[in-house]
Symmetry: none
Subunit: 210 residues, 4 copies
């Protein structure tokens, strides 16, 4: 299943139905979980009979794979686009803000991408996992470079990556558009927290604990 852009040609008419199927599946999978959503529900949401779905996706699994791979592709593309607009700011700050923004904009995609990994068949899992690792490698790279330059104090860049990503990725699970904090405030809070967490010059020593 190829999702690279230049391969789109064979779906020239664009199949509006296919897009609506993706949309419905995205929302329903995010809301109720892949295993708990039936093809019938998706079809209902689209306004079509279940059989029609199979004109666009060969299986339910294929639908999930599409959603996850195209999310990862879009995420990577967005990051590369972001890099095209270089800012003078700290790259960690840039990454944190980018991640928060993107993940708040695509809450459903993000949620699925983290929750439904185990419902991917092994081969599909591998593909998605590869993409995910590439994304996380971006942050690891930033941390390692900053660490080498003495800007950050990071003991284990991979673990730190996981910690930061986990922290940030959870935001959409509680963020509400009309909540107490604006997106900007959340960005600021988390950016501060993250940068402090890897700040040098704070000689916290590991210590024993009972």
């Amino acid at each position: 299943m190829d999702i690279s852009p230049d391969n789109r040609t064979h779906r020239t008419k664009g199949s509006e139905t296919a897009a609506r199927v993706r949309g419905a599946a995205l929302r329903l999978f995010a809301q109720n979980g892949y295993a708990a959503v039936s093809m019938r529900e998706i079809a209902n949401e689209v306004g079509v009979r279940p059989g029609a779905l199979y004109n666009h996706f060969s299986t339910k699994q294929d639908l999930l794979k599409h959603l996850m791979l195209s999310h990862m592709a879009a995420l990577m593309e967005a990051w590369h686009h972001q890099l095209g607009n270089p800012s003078a700011s700290d790259p960690l700050d840039t990454f944190v803000r980018f991640h928060i923004r993107y993940h708040l904009d695509r809450a459903d995609e993000v949620f699925i991408s983290y929750m439904e990994l185990r419902n991917l068949e092994p081969q599909n899992f591998k593909q998605v996992e590869t993409e995910r690792r590439k994304y996380e490698a971006i942050l690891t790279g930033i941390l390692e470079a900053g660490s080498k330059a003495g800007v950050y104090a990071v003991e284990d860049a991979k673990v730190t990556t996981r910690a930061i990503i986990a922290m940030l990725t959870a935001i959409p699970s509680w963020y509400r558009d009309n909540g107490a904090l604006s997106r900007q405030q959340i960005e600021d809070l988390y950016s501060t927290m993250v940068r402090k967490s890897v700040a040098p010059g704070l000689p916290y020593e590991p210590r024993e604990n009972g």
Copy 2:
């Protein structure tokens, strides 16, 4: 009335089954997700026919509810027990280490408790959510107290709570017993990161970003 030793096996056979059902469900739900696990699979794992499960749990949903509520109860009890062994150390450090240890010991319970929330029927969800909030309130309290005392610099204790909990709770998702880092090392790393993230005296100012 009965003094023969081997008859205890009969007396307790029932509750033993219930315990084994909980155990099997716990493992299977954690591995494959609530919706993807059938009562037949659980019964097979326990070595019993599916109908027998219903002597111990009235529905599959009831089984999930039990797992989640008893996890939360055990977690709270463990924390209160921990408080009984007071240490001179920083309470944030104590909490972080406690959380990591407990969550690495109960990876399945933790995983279910975060992943299967949406599969709880509303009434059960409310109960579990109440317990979860009580637990998170512990950390929020620590942060607020430390903040007031000037030991921590925290802008929004509730958001910080969520960030820290998310960070810590993700650990069991990648930790492996024979992995690169020992539990102690992980504790140390995360404790350092968390304490730095709320450390005062680090003049990271929120800044504008496009």
Copy 3:
């Protein structure tokens, strides 16, 4: 399964539970139908676990058979007792009033006896059917005797029996204790109708009809 009275001895203690089981089954079968009532429901109603029912009745079918056979036995006994108090009145009138009274007093038994015949296993069905025929034979006898004596005009005593019994037996299905008609009024109405339906001297001729 013997229900003759002198055989009661082997159930000397009377087993109050057995009686309560019969009572609960009677009500539930009448209300929801034999097939739709579970042994669990009966047990619940009695306040006992399902297994305990089998100390009193060997199967669900056995319970039904008991209810139906003992109803028929009681009905016959009541009729014979009624004959012991001879009245000067017309025997058809006597039968109609007896039937109405008895059936209004034992609505559940009657209902079951007519509705659940098909749920009896063949051998049990035969027993109950035999009893039912004996009861209907009473009315047929009355009609035949009266017919021979010229008091009634009946073309086919067996068909007339069925017609009258059907008419009377339906009463409990709509009768309500606080309804528009008293029991006495119903008795009077039906007695009049029945006696007129077999009255001689009304030369209604069978006729063609399109």
Copy 4:
């Protein structure tokens, strides 16, 4: 668009299945009772897998409702059609003969309609009950009109309606095509009985009874 003759078989295959499901359910419900018949049995009878039934009826209950409502509708339509062929005969006689004929022709529908009322969910029960009352109102109307005209002597037209309908409706429960009495003879017998039961000029007085 399609003019080939043999393609009509495909077009109507679906509705044919629905009709065969109704037919099988009708026979089986009448024979064994709604609660005792499984969807699997119906499917077997139709020659289809159980799941296929749900393409035509959403639930077993829905199937029962359909059977009962369409029976009532057909009955009412048949009566109105009968009214279109006016006969010079007594309307009570007309009704009785109509009822007997229709009910002997549709023994299964009739049987179900009287036996399975209690297995209808409340909302469906209400619908069917409404139709039944409309049908009974026909007879009540005949009795009231004849009573007012002095042709019949009826004390309570509603009770008399119930009595007559019960009497007539029971016929299919014992009628056999090769039995002792022909349909015509049964019609004649019951018509005579019914008309005598409401005949005026028969001075049967209600009387006391102990």
